[in-house]
C-alpha cells in the first residue's frame, strides 16, 4: 500500500491551500518575544532553570517521551497491586502463627474453648493477675460522683 502511488492528486492540490494560511503580519516577531519573556518571568519566579524541581523535570520528560508516562503508570499500578496482595496475607488474630508441616512454629497461648467471658475479663484486668499489660501502672478504678459537692 503506497499512498503516493494512489490517485490523490486532486486532494493534494486542495491541501496546498493550507500552505497559504498565514498568521497576522508580525506575529512571529511577537511569538519569540513572548516565549522569551515568559521564560524570564519563570526564572525570576524560581520555576525554571537551575531551581527546576525534579518533579517538573519528570513531567517534562513525559511530554518528550510518553512511553515514560506509561512505564511510570505501570510501576505505580504494580506497586499498588503488590501492596493489596501483601495486605491480604496479613495474619488474622487467632491464627497468627505460621505453620510448617501442619505444626505451629511458635505456640501462642490460646484461651480454651470452654473458658467463660468472666475468665477472659479477669485475665485482662489488674485483679492480681500476673499477665496484665497494665500492672506496671497500678491502674485502679474508683466510683465517680457527678453530683454537686456540698462541702
Amino acid at each position: 500500500m503506497n499512498p503516493d502511488s494512489e490517485n490523490f492528486d486532486s486532494l493534494r492540490q486542495l491541501l496546498a491551500l493550507k500552505r497559504h494560511e498565514v498568521p497576522p503580519p508580525g506575529y512571529f516577531d511577537r511569538l519569540s518575544r513572548d516565549v522569551m519573556a515568559r521564560i524570564k518571568a519563570g526564572e525570576k519566579g524560581g520555576q525554571v532553570g537551575a531551581e527546576f524541581s525534579w518533579f517538573q523535570r519528570m513531567l517534562s520528560m513525559f511530554d518528550v517521551k510518553p512511553v515514560f508516562a506509561g512505564a511510570f503508570g505501570t510501576a505505580v499500578c504494580a506497586f499498588l497491586i503488590s501492596g493489596v496482595l501483601s495486605s491480604d496475607q496479613t495474619p488474622v488474630l487467632g491464627d497468627a502463627t505460621p505453620h510448617v508441616g501442619g505444626s505451629p512454629l511458635v505456640s501462642a497461648p490460646v484461651p480454651e474453648a470452654n473458658s467463660s467471658v468472666e475468665q477472659l475479663m479477669a485475665s485482662t484486668t489488674n485483679s492480681g493477675g500476673s499477665g496484665s499489660l497494665f500492672d506496671q501502672f497500678s491502674l485502679q478504678t474508683r466510683p465517680v460522683s457527678y453530683l454537686p459537692n456540698n462541702n
Binding site: K18, R19, V22, F52
Partner: protein, 221 residues
C-alpha cells in the same frame, strides 16, 4: 509575498537570511549543523539569547504544525509558546540523540495531541487569512474556476471545508497528513517524530487521504 506564503513549508534556515538547509530529523549519522549544537550547548548553560535564536529558527514550522492540527490560531499560539518554554525547561534532559529540531517538534506534537484529546467535542475553528498568492495558485484556481467567478469567496469556503474535513480525522491521521502533505516532511522524518515505523506512517497516510477524499468529494475534481 511568495516567500511569505511558503514560509511554513520551506526548510529551516541555518541563520536568518541564509540559504535554507533543514537538518535531517533524528539522524545521528548525518552531520547536524554546528551552529545548532553550539546554540543548544549555550542554551543548556542558561544562555537565553542562544535559546532565542533556536526559537526563531523553528517557530514557524512548529506553529504551522500546531495550527494545522488545531485549525485555531489562538490555540496554536498558546501551544507553540508552551512547547518552547517546556523545551527550555527540559533542555537538561536533552541528550543529543536526535536533533534539537526533532526533539522540540516531539514536545510540540505531544502537547498538541494531549490538548486535542482534552478539547474533544468543543472544537472551534479560528482560521488564519489566506495570503494573496492563494488566488493565483494554478492548482487552486483549477479547483474553483468552474464553480464561481468570485475566487476569494470560493477559496474561503474551500478553506473552511478543508479544515472541517481535517478536524474529522483522528489526531494521528491528521498529524500524518499535516506533516507530509502540508509541511512536506518525508515518511522517515514523520516516523521519527511520531515514534512509529515507516509502514505505519504510510498506512496512516493512505487511510487519512481516503477519508479526506470522502469528506471533500464535492470539492474535488
Amino acid at each position: 509575498m511568495r516567500e511569505a506564503a511558503m514560509i511554513m513549508t520551506e526548510p529551516i534556515p541555518g541563520k536568518p537570511g541564509d540559504a535554507l538547509k533543514r537538518p535531517p530529523v533524528g539522524e545521528q549519522a548525518e552531520p547536524v549543523p554546528v551552529e545548532e549544537s553550539e546554540l543548544v550547548t549555550r542554551a543548556r548553560k542558561g544562555d537565553l539569547k542562544a535559546y532565542d535564536q533556536l526559537v526563531q529558527r523553528y517557530q514557524e514550522r512548529i506553529y504551522a504544525t500546531i495550527y494545522h492540527m488545531t485549525s485555531n490560531h489562538e490555540d496554536a499560539n498558546d501551544l507553540a509558546q508552551e512547547a518552547f518554554i517546556k523545551g527550555f525547561q527540559a533542555l537538561k534532559s536533552f541528550k543529543g540523540g536526535s536533533s534539537f529540531y526533532t526533539w522540540v517538534y516531539r514536545i510540540a506534537v505531544n502537547k498538541t495531541i494531549n490538548f486535542l484529546k482534552q478539547r474533544k467535542n468543543r472544537a472551534q475553528m479560528s482560521l488564519n487569512d489566506l495570503d494573496f498568492n492563494a488566488e493565483h495558485d494554478p492548482d487552486l484556481v483549477a479547483l474553483i474556476s468552474d464553480k464561481t467567478p468570485r475566487r476569494e469567496a470560493a477559496l474561503t469556503e474551500l478553506q473552511e471545508k478543508l479544515n472541517e474535513g481535517l478536524q474529522k480525522l483522528s489526531e494521528p491521521h491528521r498529524l500524518v497528513v499535516t506533516l507530509h502533505d502540508v509541511q512536506g516532511l518525508s515518511h522517515e522524518e514523520i516516523a521519527k517524530i511520531m515514534g512509529c515505523n515507516i509502514g505505519t506512517v504510510r498506512s496512516r497516510l493512505f487511510y487519512a487521504r481516503q477519508q479526506l477524499q470522502g469528506f471533500l468529494a464535492d470539492y474535488l475534481k
